[in-house]
């Protein structure tokens, strides 16, 4: 909305402040278990382990297009794309002479529209920045029955840091962000409806993630000022 208002006020300068490009990166998912639900109840009162894999094992990826509007040191960036998250739930069922360990892997693919507000510092070729981000995501359908145990929308918010690297023809955007889920993503209606029969119940959970991305950006109008020190002409 900010971009639209600015555009109507200054129609001739809007394109001068626009950068577009694309990017990709990796992420690692962090599951916050809000309220555990188990399918197994032990008749002797024992508790069975019920946990999720750690962030180092939950590597996913993202591909997106990026559009930015910058004005002075402020930047508004949109990065719509496909964001995929991997994680696994680990359960155990204990018997006298054996313990059964179950691991249920998940792959959640979202169409996500992140919106970032950044403040950057002009250090000539490098322009480090920090900012905040909010994102709306929509879970894509899949043939995996476990996909049905999650609701489709997901809203996250977080912080980003990174730097632009000005290479004249293109601008690289190296971005690191941590996004925190704002609500439970498990479908309470389908908590036990695991379809394929995998014997576990879906917990109420937040899905947080740490993302590292690299984008290639192109200015719609060539920048006139790159550096006070280096000369490229």
């Amino acid at each position: 909305m900010t971009a639209a208002i600015t555009a109507s006020a200054q129609p001739s300068g809007f394109l001068d402040h626009l950068r577009i490009g694309f990017g990709a990166g990796a992420n690692t998912a962090q599951v916050i278990d809000l309220s555990p639900f188990t399918i197994f109840e032990d008749l002797t009162g024992a508790e069975y382990e019920n946990s999720y894999t750690g962030m180092l094992r939950n590597i996913g990826n993202q591909y997106f297009v990026q559009a930015e509007y910058y004005d002075q040191n402020y930047i508004i960036a949109l990065k719509p794309g496909t964001y995929s998250y991997h994680f696994s739930k680990e359960n155990e069922v204990v018997f006298s002479n054996e313990t059964i360990e179950q691991e249920s892997p998940y792959l959640l693919r979202y169409i996500t529209i992140p919106l970032e507000a950044r403040y950057n510092f002009d250090l000539q070729r490098y322009r480090p920045y920090a900012g905040i981000t909010v994102a709306y995501s929509h879970l894509l359908q899949s043939n995996d029955a476990s996909n049905q145990t999650f609701i489709r929308p997901k809203i996250t918010a977080g912080a980003v840091v990174g730097t632009y690297i000005d290479l004249r023809a293109i601008i690289l955007d190296f971005n690191v962000g941590y996004r925190s889920g704002l609500h439970n993503i498990a479908s309470k209606d389908n908590r036990f409806g695991t379809g394929g029969g995998t014997a576990f119940a879906q917990d109420d959970m937040l899905l947080n993630d740490l993302q590292v991305s690299l984008s290639l950006l192109f200015s719609l109008q060539k920048q006139r000022r790159y550096s006070n020190i280096e000369c490229y002409y």
Binding site: E41, F95, N97, H183, A199
Partner: protein
């Protein structure tokens, strides 16, 4: 940023509907629970489940111990919360408990037998599981129990002396009111023993009641006159008035529910298949062959499949439900209209391991609870309780 957040939420609402808001969905609305015991030598045969007035469930299982010197299973009762979590468990020395559990005022009771095959009603405290009383029922080898609408108790047993099915009616305080013997005319004690100790075929023994303009009565699925029959009994005298028979004891009716007047819904198994007759008029006063009725084959069900049936009452309409299990390890629910033989929906719940339905009740919130057994890892037989919310049975427009 403040201006943008409402738009993001608006996008979420438009594309995701109301999925974000799930506060009205409670854990007790629907759940699936497998009740595991760590002792590998135990095999649980769940029998019957009750929903308690104060909330929660209580179910009884027969438990076989491979190492026990007694060949008959003992009794194990589990009390759970409304969302299926275990609150207490209690093991009893009573043998071969049978369906269904009995609600007696504020108490709970189950019917089982001692080592001399004598049947007892055993009352327990639902708060702790402590045994509060035992009542001799003066019959042997209990096979099924039923609490009638007027709180009277009916119990089916097998009398190995007269080789008869033995049906007795008791008051709510377990005082014998009437009893009847249905001669089998052949010795089925070995078959009954194998049924009770879970080493042979488990027969679909059950008791129910019907009420028509012409009168009320009970129906009992039991051995009678060489065959496994559904026998219609007079309400007052318990005299046999009519029956439906099949081929000896190899075939029979697996579930039966009264819809209205002379119309019943039933399932049966014969010639290696299972069949359903969701809306069939039966004569309550004559002897009929199950093969004389038009039926629809249910090829997906397991061999001689146990089936549970009930009339599901709701604010808008009543439905006829049959619950069983398929060859592909699913619980399956067939929902039929009450006033016709129309199949409204079929609901599957898939599992990795073999499941077997044992009991079905309607819960206070209009949903259903299904008590089954499941073989964890394909080897350890354990109780499985599935609660399905009422919304699942609202037909789509």
């Amino acid at each position: 940023m403040r201006k943008i957040l409402p738009y993001l939420f608006l996008i979420g609402l438009l594309t995701g509907g109301c999925e974000l808001f799930q506060d009205e969905i409670l854990p007790e609305d629907g759940f699936t629970k497998i009740y595991n015991h760590p002792d590998e030598v135990l095999a649980f045969y769940p029998e019957s489940v009750l929903e308690l007035d104060e909330g929660g469930y209580i179910f009884v299982s027969a438990v076989k111990d491979e190492t026990s010197e007694i060949e008959y299973p003992s009794t194990y009762v589990v009390r759970t919360s409304a969302s299926g979590e275990v609150e207490w468990t209690m093991a009893y020395d009573w043998l071969a408990p049978c369906a269904t559990m009995i609600q007696t005022g504020s108490g709970i009771a189950f019917v089982a037998m001692n080592q001399q095959f004598e049947a007892y009603a055993v009352s327990i405290d639902p708060a702790s599981g402590a045994e509060t009383g035992q009542y001799a029922l003066d019959l042997t080898m209990p096979l099924a129990a039923y609490t009638a609408e007027n709180d009277q108790l009916l119990v089916l047993g097998y009398d190995f002396v007269t080789r008869s099915s033995w049906i007795s009616k008791f008051s709510s305080s377990f005082v014998l009111e009437r009893s009847t013997l249905l001669p089998i005319n052949t010795d089925l004690e070995y078959e009954v023993q194998r049924h009770l100790n879970r080493t042979g075929q488990e027969y679909p023994f059950f008791i129910g009641e019907y009420n028509t303009n012409e009168g009320a009565g009970y129906f009992v699925n039991c051995f009678y006159n060489y065959t496994l029959r559904t026998v219609f009994l007079d309400l007052a005298s318990l005299g046999a008035e009519g029956s439906i028979f099949a081929f000896r004891i190899e075939e029979g009716i697996s579930s039966l529910v009264h819809k209205n007047e002379g119309i019943f819904g039933l399932t049966s198994y014969f010639e290696g298949n299972n069949y359903i007759l969701p809306d069939t008029e039966l004569s309550l006063t004559s002897s009929q062959n199950i093969k004389d009725f038009d039926s629809e084959a249910l090829y997906e069900l397991t061999f001689k499949a146990p089936v549970e049936a009930l009339i599901l009452n709701s604010d808008t309409a009543d439905y006829e439900l049959f619950v069983s299990q398929t060859n592909s390890n699913s619980l399956v629910i067939y929902q039929y209209a009450m006033d016709s033989d129309s199949l409204l929906s079929t609901i599957y719940k898939d599992f990795d391991e073999t499941v077997e339905v044992k009991d079905l009740i309607q819960t206070g919130d209009g949903g259903i609870a299904i008590l089954s057994s499941i073989r964890i890892l394909g080897k350890y037989r354990r109780p499985l309780l599935v609660k399905i919310p009422a919304e699942s049975f609202i037909p789509e427009e």
